[in-house]
């Protein structure tokens, strides 16, 4: 599948934002936030919404007819994209209420409940995003049991490193729990990513060319002539393929930059070694790494329709 910048930014950036919001919510729900962390919560929620809004804004660039975007909220009964939109929009008032009440009252029962709501809403939105991809049957690299949990994990992970940074900014140190959480999330995300790759590498293609053209099993088919000589929409979108050599290199970079470095940084930050620098570095690495990861998520994905053109699926 052709990676489109808008979609990469959307999923990565909303991951950070909603991940961060989820952490704020979770901390609040569990009563882990010190009562005086008003600034942390308000800045945190604002940052989360900023990231989310940036991502959602970027996604608009993927729409050919932006002026009609409002229509996208209507089909929540069947469409994960619609659900994502609805969930994202619902998350905003929840997040704002959470921040506002916290500003006014600090840690109280209401903020704990609103924390739970923010957690659910933000992860729910991420889940909807993930399901957009996970529900697409023609793309085996997406339509599998890894996609949804992975998206949640990456959001939790990117939110964690961001949370740790804010925590450090506000309180001078990330605090043990945030660091541990960030490090742990990085570790789990790393393992999940490797598991995902192992999974897609061992998958068999969804179909043979013979099945695609209705011939019985055991018949071998090869393309002779394609309908048109030049690339068309389908080939540009679904026929995109990344060279194996490239992919291997990129995978290594994702693991190193996206997960291993943030993991290391989080441990260092937890050990109070230049916490501001290390947490910021963790965020930067996670950002770059996850963008790369997302690029690969698209570039390595193959669409079954490309089989008609004899492309690898």
């Amino acid at each position: 599948m052709k990676p489109a910048a808008s979609v990469l930014l959307l999923t990565t950036s909303t991951g950070f934002g909603f991940g961060l919001l989820a952490w704020l919510g979770a901390y609040s729900a569990l009563g882990l936030l010190p009562g005086h962390a008003r600034i942390l919560v308000v800045v945190g929620v604002a940052t989360a919404l900023l990231f989310a809004s940036f991502g959602l804004g970027a996604s608009m660039f993927h729409l050919e007819r932006k002026e009609r975007a409002w229509r996208a909220f209507s089909q929540w009964r069947s469409s994960w994209l619609s659900r994502e939109g609805v969930a994202a929009v619902l998350t905003y008032p929840v997040a704002i209420a959470f921040a506002a009440v916290f500003w006014r009252d600090g840690q109280v029962i209401w903020t704990r409940l609103l924390g739970v709501a923010a957690l659910v809403a933000s992860l729910g939105t991420v889940y909807c995003t993930a399901m957009i991809y996970a529900s697409l049957k023609p793309i085996r690299q997406w339509h599998n049991r890894h996609t949804a949990p992975d998206y949640l994990l990456y959001a939790v992970f990117s939110g964690a490193v961001l949370f740790a940074t804010l925590h450090t900014m506000d309180l001078g140190a990330p605090g043990a729990t945030a660091s541990v959480a960030a490090a742990a999330a990085a570790g789990v995300a790393l393992i999940a990513k490797r598991a995902y790759w192992r999974h897609i590498d061992t998958q068999t293609p969804l179909a043979t060319l013979a099945a695609a053209i209705g011939l019985p099993k055991g018949v071998e088919a090869r393309p002779l002539d394609a309908p048109h000589f030049t690339e068309n929409f389908i080939l540009r979108q679904m026929g995109f393929a990344v060279a194996r050599r490239h992919a291997v290199k990129l995978r290594r970079m994702v693991l190193a930059i996206g997960f291993a470095l943030p993991l290391a940084c989080s441990i260092l930050a937890g050990l109070a070694l230049a916490p501001m620098a290390t947490t910021t570095l963790a965020v930067a690495c996670a950002g770059i790494g996850l963008l790369l990861e997302r690029w690969l998520f698209f570039a390595e994905a193959t669409h079954v329709s490309a089989v008609y053109y004899g492309r690898r699926i």
Binding site: R71, A72, Q75, S82, A221, P227, H228, E231, H303
Partner: protein
């Protein structure tokens, strides 16, 4: 509404039956489709770079050629590919706007281009590559099963069929109601063992494809007769012995 409709009893399942045994791969259906839909109510099917280095455009129907090896040896198979108007049309359910929908009364899958936001998700959801983005209007396009022909009361009944069916010179394309077991198309599917494309994916396409076959003429095995030296064989001599009448 992008929820798939419940199949109402008695509802039609309109679709195409394409005979791979007869398709010569001439592209006539594809071009005629383009012609009809360019001027038709569905709007304009755009072309890009018409006279330049990369001519491209939107087509609802594209013709592939393949070579296959199977029982009876290698052969060439031409495969026209267009929307199959699936029963489990994921392209419809993923649509966030309701632009994509499947009609209750006849199962035709359509895009309402006035609603479409061009998010392209539906094209990702279609395993058959049947949807193409109109990069000029920014909306998704797909085969309409020529809804503006098949229901056009101004046309004589014989002409109420999709443009691609009407034009196919080898008559490899058939149109009809696949819900009606007595329809011409259902009978063809039954007689000829019509199949689904990519059955494993579970989209339950309405359109069916009739597989290639081979007609044979049984004859006794022939061995070369033993070399009879030169001259004319006995069989011919015997034949020519018989009286003729001019």
């Amino acid at each position: 509404m992008t929820m798939l409709p419940e199949r109402a009893p008695g509802a039609k399942k309109l679709g195409l039956v394409i005979d791979l045994d007869t398709c010569v791969g001439c592209h006539a259906c594809a071009v005629n489709c383009k012609e009809w839909n360019t001027g038709g109510e569905a709007g304009i099917l755009p072309d890009y770079d018409k006279y330049g280095p990369e001519p491209d455009g939107v087509w609802f129907n594209r013709i592939h050629s393949y070579e296959t090896d199977g029982e009876g040896g290698s052969r060439t198979v031409n495969v026209p590919r267009s929307c199959l108007h699936c029963e489990d049309a994921l392209c419809v359910t993923v649509c966030p706007t309701g632009a994509s929908y499947k009609r209750v009364q006849d199962g035709i899958v359509l895009v309402d281009t006035d609603k479409c936001i061009g998010c392209q998700l539906c094209s990702w959801a279609c395993p058959y590559g049947a949807r193409e983005l109109d990069e000029k209007a920014g909306v998704m396009r797909k085969c309409t099963l020529c809804i503006d022909r098949i229901y056009d009361e101004n046309l004589p009944p014989a002409e109420r069929e999709p443009a691609c069916v009407a034009t196919c010179p080898s008559r490899a394309r058939h149109f009809g109601d696949l819900a009606d077991p007595d329809s011409k198309v259902s009978k063809l599917v039954k007689e000829r063992g019509g199949v689904d494309l990519l059955p494993g994916l579970g989209y339950r396409p309405t359109n069916k494809y009739l597989p290639p076959r081979r007609a044979t003429i049984p004859t006794a095995p022939v061995k070369p007769p033993a070399p009879s030296g030169k001259g004319i064989g006995t069989a011919l001599l015997g034949l020519l012995d018989k009286a003729l009448s001019r």
